[in-house]
């Protein structure tokens, strides 16, 4: 279920350098970078794009987009990945059979690479990708974007696609950003050392 409805929340907050002109622009932008399902036979192992925040299968209508002053949508990434221990028995079996069929004692590195590609393809066809969905809420009043994740991988992926989608630059917003405005010098020296007499 979407984190917009249930569960604890961890966020990363961004400020884009500009706001979209209107709803139509937002919809068109999201559609341009909408999520596309990845086919197991595809050479790509990963697909990333925007989906509706409530109906994770919808990457066309974005019917839940507007929520008061917020635009809500989500980033979906489907990824096929196999650990070396998952691949190992299939790979060793394929190499063993290849050696017998071709009467080979030694298999070249190039041939091993090709066998591995075939094994990975076969595993992809027989499995489903790992899905990651991360909700996003764009506050049109404050122009702050709330990404419901603090994972560095998700943050990097999100920043990249968001900046491309809306043709903006994102600045990360942190609590400590206000130091510059509050203090005269914009810099702080540690005070804890003074309390415990440590330099």
């Amino acid at each position: 279920m979407t984190k917009l409805l249930k569960g604890t929340i961890s966020r990363t907050i961004f400020k884009p350098d500009k706001k979209p002109e209107n709803m139509t622009t937002i919809r068109e932008s999201l559609e341009r970078f909408a999520f596309k399902k990845i086919d197991p036979t595809d050479v790509r192992d990963e697909s990333t794009g925007w989906i509706d925040a409530i109906m994770s299968f919808d990457s066309k209508n974005f019917s839940s987009l507007m929520h008061d002053r917020f635009m809500i949508f989500a980033l979906r990434t489907d990824k096929f990945s196999f650990s070396s221990s998952q691949i190992r028995p299939h790979l060793e079996e394929a190499e063993h059979l290849y050696g017998i069929e071709n009467n080979l004692e030694y298999i070249s590195a190039q041939q091993k690479k090709e066998i591995k590609e075939q094994v990975t393809k076969r595993l992809k066809v027989n499995s489903i990708p790992k899905v990651t969905i991360t909700e996003t809420a764009w506050d049109m009043e404050t122009n702050l974007v709330h990404l419901f994740s603090q994972s560095s991988q998700v943050v990097v992926r999100f920043t990249d696609i968001f900046e491309k989608t809306f043709e903006v630059n994102l600045e990360t917003i942190e609590l400590s950003n206000s130091i510059k405005q509050i203090t005269k010098s914009g810099k702080l020296e540690p005070v804890l050392g003074k309390v415990w007499g440590i330099q």
């Binding site: 966020r11 603090q150 942190e174 540690p190």
Partner: protein, 163 residues
């Protein structure tokens, strides 16, 4: 903040300040910032890390951290909070979450119950309460920075800790 070192000590200082306030008053007035009175309480867990370079760290778990003498004693010995769980109550709304000093971040926020059955209303209320929490946290942090700038800050903290 670009300097990681600066970010780390500001986070620790802020967590210590929050602990201090939760022990002393528990109630803070953010009236000047239009947020009224808020109640803060460090609960369930506090991680303490030594600033003396001896590598000491400990995790203390209790329903009411502020009441424990062992926490204050440990801080007195130069072990500062690196993580706390904080409950904030404002205007009958209640948030419970974790703050880490480094990286200086709020996470795992449990939002006030909405009591709504309609999904649209529920989403709106959850988003509203998130932005309200952001305002409160920013106001708390700014209050801390302003207090920290006062010349009496270090002495007041020493008095609180009994140093």
């Amino acid at each position: 903040m670009k300097n990681n070192q600066e970010s780390a000590y500001i986070g620790q200082e802020f967590l210590l300040w929050i602990y201090w306030k939760s022990c002393e008053e528990g109630t803070l007035s953010l009236e000047d910032l239009g947020l009224g009175e808020i109640n803060i309480s460090v609960e369930e867990v506090i991680d303490l890390v030594s600033i003396k370079g001896d590598g000491y760290s400990e995790t203390i778990k209790s329903t009411d951290i502020a009441e424990l003498d062992s926490v204050r004693e440990s801080i007195r010995l130069g072990r500062l909070p690196s993580l706390i769980k904080l409950r904030i109550i404002s205007n009958h709304l209640e948030w419970f979450f974790q703050i880490k000093a480094n990286p200086f971040k709020v996470s795992s926020v449990k939002l006030p119950l909405t009591g709504e059955k309609d999904e649209t209303e529920m989403i709106s209320q959850r988003l509203e309460s998130l932005t309200k929490l952001d305002l409160i946290m920013q106001a708390l942090f700014n209050t801390f920075i302003l207090e920290r700038e006062e010349s009496s800050f270090t002495e007041s903290m020493k008095t609180f800790l009994g140093l």
